[in-house]
Each structure stands twice: as structure tokens, then as C-alpha cells.
């Protein structure tokens, strides 16, 4: 499965509908301080099922919904969708035969929260199952957040073990 695009709308500083096409590898994201680069990583963690607002640098989960700017009003919902190219058929069942897999999460101010895979509503667990056993699971060694690289080697022995068991 290859990540082929990221859609954000109303997620943190991405107030407007925004599409990032992932065409070549490696992809490097650049831009001035505070422009929204790490917010893209928060969006990816969020879609994949992150349930801790603190891990997403917020107080409550509703903090991911864009509160606009001094010249724009707040959004009413946050929607993020990741598109995966599964032409190699590596995705686990029941998605093995789908050429493209779209994983979406949405949250509105009234608290309505949904996950969807290929536009069909599903549970958080179903998204987790899609990535089971890869580094995107609970101990997610596949996403290194800003400022945390030095801390990885200071992890507790049981956390290092968990990382390894996830990969084994």
C-alpha cells in the first residue's frame, strides 16, 4: 500500500479544502515556522485512529477543528482523508482486491465522529485492522513527531520491547 494523497478540510490551520498529492519518494515538506507542516502529521495520526487530544497538541479532541483566523470564522467540522494505492494487493482482507483505499475521519462541533473506508462507514477498529502489525499501530515507530527523536532512546525498557513485538 502506497500513500498517494492527503485531503484536509477544516482540520487545524487547513481551514480550506486542501489536497496534497504524494507522487515521488522521498517527499519533503517545507515552509516557514507556524505555517502548518506538523498539522499535516497530526492529521495523518488522527485519521489512523489517534484517540488522545494531547498527542495531537490539543486540550480536547474538538481542538482539531479549525478555529479559523482573525479574518475567517471557525469551521464546523474537520475532515481528513488518506488515499492509498493498493495496486500490489498487499492490503489485508476484505480490501485486498481494491485498487484504491480511501480512509476518512470526520468530526463536527456537535461531537458527531465518523470513520469511513472507501466511503462506507466503519469503526475505529476497522481502520486499525487495516494497518495491524505495521509500524502504524499503537507503538507507531513509523511516525516520529517534532522534537521527539532524542527521546526515543530514553524509552522505558517495556516500551522498547513493545516496539519490537509490534515489528516482529
Amino acid at each position: 500500500m502506497r500513500l498517494s494523497a492527503i485531503h484536509l478540510h477544516g482540520f487545524k490551520s487547513f481551514r480550506n479544502a486542501t489536497r496534497i498529492d504524494v507522487q515521488r519518494n522521498p517527499l519533503v515538506i517545507v515552509g516557514p515556522n507556524g505555517c502548518g507542516k506538523s498539522n499535516i502529521i497530526d492529521a495523518i495520526r488522527w485519521v489512523l485512529g489517534e484517540s488522545s487530544a494531547r498527542q495531537l497538541r490539543g486540550g480536547a479532541m474538538a481542538d482539531v477543528i479549525s478555529n479559523g483566523s482573525t479574518s475567517r470564522g471557525a469551521a464546523q467540522q474537520a475532515v481528513v482523508e488518506l488515499l492509498f494505492d493498493n495496486s500490489t494487493g498487499k492490503a489485508p482482507a476484505p480490501w485486498t482486491a481494491s485498487a484504491e483505499i480511501r480512509v476518512q475521519r470526520r468530526l463536527s462541533r456537535d461531537g458527531d465522529s465518523q470513520y469511513r473506508i472507501n466511503d462506507a462507514r466503519c469503526r475505529r477498529r476497522d481502520v486499525g485492522d487495516l494497518f495491524l502489525g505495521t509500524g502504524l499501530g499503537a507503538s507507531s515507530y513509523a511516525i516520529i513527531e517534532q522534537g521527539t527523536i532524542g527521546r526515543i532512546i530514553e524509552s522505558r525498557p517495556e516500551d522498547l520491547r513493545a516496539m519490537l513485538e509490534e515489528a516482529g
Binding site: R19, R24, P26, L27, S71, R72, F84, I152
Partner: protein, 159 residues
């Protein structure tokens, strides 16, 4: 099952040592099972850059800690590549020479794994096959913009 875990540990240690040497030009790094029942004991990381006698990881410098962590993450990745790997400014503590070594290793692993990086360092931008620019044309609102590579890599390029 213990055997499986032992095998995984051996494989990660082979990768960890290999990548540690590629990044530091020598030295030794390994994960070892701590005290207690091997079926659930924690793991302890040891790392010694070439020529040094440091006894604990705490004595390593900021850059040495980052490089050691990169070697560990890459070793785990090589064992079981996830669909993609995201690295947000992991190069911030590194000097230019170590950025070049990190980029060389990254280019190698990018043959198997998809990488998304965020960086402010010009040397890292040079490893990119694709550059995505983010900015706030309207204050407070993020948007994606094409990146003018030539202007970025020029000395006064602003990232």
C-alpha cells in the same frame, strides 16, 4: 513465543549495528534483554560512538542521541516496513556532515519504504524527489504552494 522474539531481536540488532556504523563511521550499538523472565523482560539499549568510553546513553550529545535513535528506527523499519515513515525535523540537532550521512542512508531505504519528511535544513531538501511547500498566504490559514527549488537552494533561500 520466545524463539520468535529472540530471532526478531537478532535481526534488529544486525540492522541497528549496520546503520549505527553507517551513521557514526564505527562504534557499537545493541538492544539487550534486561533482567527478569525472557518472555516479558524489557529491553535496554546500549550505544557507544567510536573512540568514546561513555557508560550511559545520558552522556551522549544531542546529535549523538538523535543519530542513535534514527539507527534504531531504521533497523526496526527494515525488519517490518510500515506503508510509510514520517520524520518531523529529526535533522534539527544534526551537524551538516551527519545530515549528509543521514540522507545517504535515507536514499538507500527509500527504495523499499515511502518517506515523508519535514525539514528546515537545505542539505536535507536535496534528498527530496518531491518538494511540497506549505505557507499562509492568508494569515492563520494554511495552503499548499509550488516550491521554487532554485530559490530555495540559493544561499538566501528561506525555508
Amino acid at each position: 513465543t520466545l524463539e520468535r522474539f529472540q530471532r526478531t531481536l537478532e535481526q534488529v540488532n544486525r540492522g541497528l549495528q549496520k546503520y549505527f556504523v553507517e551513521l557514526f563511521g564505527g562504534g557499537v550499538a545493541a538492544l539487550a534483554a534486561g533482567a527478569g523472565d525472557p518472555l516479558d523482560a524489557g529491553l535496554v539499549l546500549r550505544a557507544q560512538p567510536p573512540g568514546k568510553r561513555n557508560s550511559t546513553l545520558q552522556q551522549l550529545s544531542g546529535g549523538e542521541k538523535a543519530l542513535t535513535a534514527i539507527a534504531l528506527v531504521f533497523a526496526i523499519f527494515a525488519l517490518n516496513p510500515a506503508p510509510f515513515c514520517i520524520l518531523d525535523e529529526v535533522d534539527a540537532p544534526l551537524d551538516d556532515a551527519n545530515i549528509e550521512r543521514f540522507c545517504r542512508l535515507l536514499r538507500e531505504l527509500a527504495k523499499e519504504t515511502q518517506f515523508l519528511l519535514i525539514s528546515h535544513r537545505q542539505l536535507t531538501l536535496q534528498v527530496a524527489e518531491q518538494l511540497v511547500g506549505v505557507t499562509m498566504i492568508e494569515p492563520g490559514i494554511s495552503s499548499i504552494v509550488p516550491v521554487d527549488v532554485a530559490a530555495l537552494l540559493a544561499e538566501d533561500g528561506v525555508t
